[in-house]
Symmetry: C2
Subunit: 364 residues, 2 copies
């Protein structure tokens, strides 16, 4: 079936490919670049001229037409999504009334897609990760979509680890080969360093990129089986889709959905989960240090986003100051310096896990 | 004559007291709080709710009415002066076409005063120093004005040093007693540390606060004697004062004045220079460290100007971020962190002498 793509939209065969971008997160570990007013997926975190959600949408250019993209986000970010992704049909921008973790988010999108395109073959992706190896990503997506088109299966994407990272979840697969559809044996939570080192040695453990591929019919039936509470809410909501009371029903029922991740709700229970492992030069950009890895190093190993940044005697720093006119820093080593919109952070990279706490609203 | 003050304006006797505030400086060592667009004399450097020039003007409240204040500044700062000192008559805000150091600046003000008030008794003061002991300052000013009213003399103010500061000039006087009018033996440039220590031991050396008191007739005649080039230019300019061509003459002649300080031009040559020494808790706020000394220390000896500044593991830092909504700093010791108007500085206090160079416009 390889190569059997639509010449217009790049979809595989007669497949009806739809992309769901999850864009409701806050990104509090990347404060102050990322704030609840404008979280990381909507900002040009790497200084490349595009926001992360724009880069995410672009990444599917060879997979399907951009008007097949759906975005699930908070109501407060709908305007931002429209502005940054103007080519997305308005009815494909879905606003969660409240955040209820990924299972209700994904269910909402898939129930909406099912009504419009019951034969859809769907990719669900986070909005805030980056992939440097675009061609390989396209290949993986096409391979996954081909597989789910022909099987009632869920395909995930595993990233070949290049270090014993303790900040990611891992997928334990039945094999070590990249680029093949492998059976998933287990999902593993973020490990300790020793465990992570063991995973690397084993060779059949991959980082979980949080990307899921399935037919809409597959995920709906699996949610009915493994997450019946959420599926029940969605079935009730779906009756109002297109009616005047749609928004009212959404606001009434969505907040009642179990607050649970898709991993817990379905992935760890379903028997038909597969993974395609690949070296995509992927990063979730979940922290300043992981972001820094994707900013080209200048002299002294400093990673700079911003115009007139002048470092003297600095080494290994991440400086993110896109809005500043001039930044002068003397004698800092392995620090994060980030400024945005009147908020300034100066923190050793080693302490970045505390940023969320430091920047939290003060309790009186 | 003590106590013989006007009940309305506080001037001594029938004395016609006028105050000249020199406000043309740039304050480049306090970048980025101080910039050429808005130098330090016009900003609330200490976070007290008033700019340094406002504090300077306030300091003379017990010496004379505020409408007796004159300001010499650059043309670009005239609007700022009007806004910050709205009670000053417009014709007492003088705009230098170009900076030519203090001698032409002072001469311009004094020639203008001479025309309006030929009997004036004048205090010339920088705009950017602070004095914490207000009452003692008032006493010193009154004593100096009394002395110059009765003598064709120049009185300077000497600050009793509390440390062998190498950043100030010193006045060598004929005695050690504070609060008395003493003869000046010599003006000394900024000394090395060893020399400064010697000055402290001697006891008759005082910091030169750059404040001068004289009758306008005294300084005009002394400038005619010791700085005839400048005096000649002023005499030519003065013919146009109040005429239509005043501004044109100013722009033609002022830039031709010798670029020289009042210290070189007059102080070091005149035989009739006196000093009143006093402990005024004075500082010229010429650098971040000297500014920091006048900001109350919080936990860890940190000096903070700004709203929501959160320090974790920081010691001895100066944080000046009045415009920032939130500042978070972890593990810095003895650093300056200053942000203003899109310009950020992070620099060890020990390296503050380099700030001017770091922040200079890049040469291509």
């Amino acid at each position: 079936m390889a190569g059997n793509y639509c010449q217009t939209c790049g979809s595989v065969g007669k497949m009806n490919t739809q992309i769901v971008i999850m864009a409701g997160g806050i990104g509090s570990r990347l404060w102050p670049a990322s704030t609840p007013e404008m979280p990381k997926q909507f900002i040009d975190l790497l200084g490349v001229g595009k926001s992360l959600i724009q880069l995410t949408a672009d990444r599917f250019q060879q997979v399907c037409n951009p008007d097949r993209i759906w975005v699930v986000t908070s109501a407060r970010y709908v305007k931002t999504v429209r502005k940054q992704l103007p080519y997305i049909p308005e009815d494909q921008i879905l606003a969660e009334p409240v955040p209820r973790n990924t299972a209700p988010c994904i269910a909402y999108a898939c129930w909406k897609i099912m009504r419009k395109y019951p034969d859809a073959n769907v990719v669900v992706t986070p909005s805030d990760a980056i992939v440097m190896k675009q061609d390989r990503f396209t290949d993986v997506m096409k391979k996954a979509l081909e597989f789910t088109a022909e099987n009632d299966a869920i395909v995930t994407v595993g990233i070949k680890p290049d270090r014993p990272e303790t900040g990611y979840g891992y997928i334990c697969s039945s094999g070590t080969e990249e680029g093949k559809v492998l059976k998933v044996k287990a999902f593993k939570e973020k490990p300790c360093l020793e465990t992570a080192k063991g995973y690397i040695t084993e060779g059949n453990y991959f980082w979980n990129a949080g990307i899921f591929v399935w037919k809409v019919s597959t995920i709906v039936s699996q949610m009915r089986e493994f997450a019946p509470q959420i599926a029940g809410m969605m079935d009730r909501m779906a009756k109002s889709f297109g009616r005047e009371d749609e928004q009212a029903m959404l606001e009434e029922l969505f907040p009642q959905c179990d607050k649970i991740s898709i991993d817990y709700a379905v992935m760890e229970k379903s028997p038909s989960i597969y993974v395609i492992a690949a070296d995509l030069a992927w990063s979730d950009l979940g922290s300043w240090s992981s972001t820094g890895m994707h900013i080209n190093a200048s002299e002294g190993g400093n990673r700079i986003v911003g115009g007139d940044v002048r470092l003297f005697g600095c080494e290994g720093c991440i400086v993110h100051a896109g809005e500043e006119k001039m930044v002068i820093i003397k004698d800092l080593k392995d620090y994060i310096v980030a400024e945005k919109n009147g908020r300034l952070l100066i923190c050793p990279i080693a302490d970045e896990q505390d940023i969320k706490e430091y920047s939290a609203d003060k309790q009186s």
